[in-house]
């Protein structure tokens, strides 16, 4: 396991995930989310450190997924892996949360993982693009 590449991928992925989340869910679709949620449910002022920590965790998950892909590391491969992982994560989580709470209606429960597909794909592309420039550690290579 190449810890240097994992660390770089996690940081790049976490930052990309966080920034894309702000662009997609706060700026582009913020009004749509607000209209489909109970009033007072969203915080007036987000707790940024928590969102950043969560983004780092999912950045690590996407990095591990991209690094475990067989074959050469490409940006297209990163897009596919990132989109697939993030879609499955949020589709599962959104429906689990929808089952017990009326925090978001069914339409938003379906739309949210589709938007996460985009965020995951773009984050995966960023991770793959950066990792392609980072040489593999000799310690992580299997013995010849």
């Amino acid at each position: 396991m190449d810890m240097k590449r994992i660390a770089i991928g996690t940081i790049v992925g976490g930052i990309a995930y966080f920034v894309l989340g702000y662009l997609i869910f706060n700026l582009a679709a913020g009004d749509y989310y607000a209209a489909n949620r109970p009033p007072g449910f969203s915080r007036d002022a987000p707790i940024v450190w928590a969102a950043a920590l969560g983004s780092l965790g999912l950045g690590l998950l996407l990095t591990l997924g991209i690094m475990s892909r067989a074959g050469a590391l490409t940006i297209a491969g990163g897009v596919v892996t990132g989109a697939l992982y993030n879609f499955l994560v949020w589709f599962g989580v959104d429906f689990l949360h929808h089952s017990g709470q009326e925090a978001q209606n069914l339409t938003l429960t379906v739309v949210d993982p589709l938007l996460e597909l985009i965020r995951g794909g773009l984050t995966g592309a960023a991770i793959a693009a950066v990792l392609a420039m980072v040489p593999k550690s000799t310690a992580a290579r299997p013995a010849a």
Partner: protein
């Protein structure tokens, strides 16, 4: 990608996550969650079982995809370990992001839920690995 193994792992994993989740979250810790849930006013009186089942199927699909994509021999131990790591990263990531933007749970429950999610998914990973070890790999894959 071996679609037969992926389908079997997803179904077995989905059923396991559902059963373990029921024991962990609807029986063992239900009072604890209720006491730490700031959004209790929007909690449903009766959970939507179809939505729970669908959610766990998708998480099981992710877990199975990770397990069958992995190089090397798949054992129950590695299934449990990978399941726990995937479950922790998924739930810690989601819970902290939601904690950042939503007034749903307090910080303690946000942390506890991630750890319980790791236990649940670790068990799911172990069961998926145990079943997939008995399913021969497709020659196509």
């Amino acid at each position: 990608m071996d679609m037969k193994r992926l389908a079997i792992g997803t179904i077995v994993g989905g059923v396991t996550l559902y059963a373990v989740g029921y024991v962990m979250f609807d029986i063992a810790t239900v009072d604890y969650y209720a006491a730490n849930n700031a959004a209790a006013s929007i909690s449903r009186d009766v959970n939507l079982q179809w939505s729970i089942g669908l959610g766990y199927l998708y998480l099981a699909a992710l877990l199975t995809f990770v397990l069958v994509s992995r190089a090397g021999v798949l054992t129950i131990g590695t299934g449990a370990a990978i399941g726990a790591v995937v479950g922790f990263l998924v739930w810690a990531g989601v819970d902290f992001i939601r904690y950042g933007y939503e007034d749903r749970w307090n910080l303690t429950l946000t942390i506890i839920d991630s750890l319980l999610g790791a236990v649940q998914t670790g068990i799911g990973g172990a069961v998926i690995a145990a079943v997939l070890a008995r399913v021969p790999k497709s020659a196509m894959a």
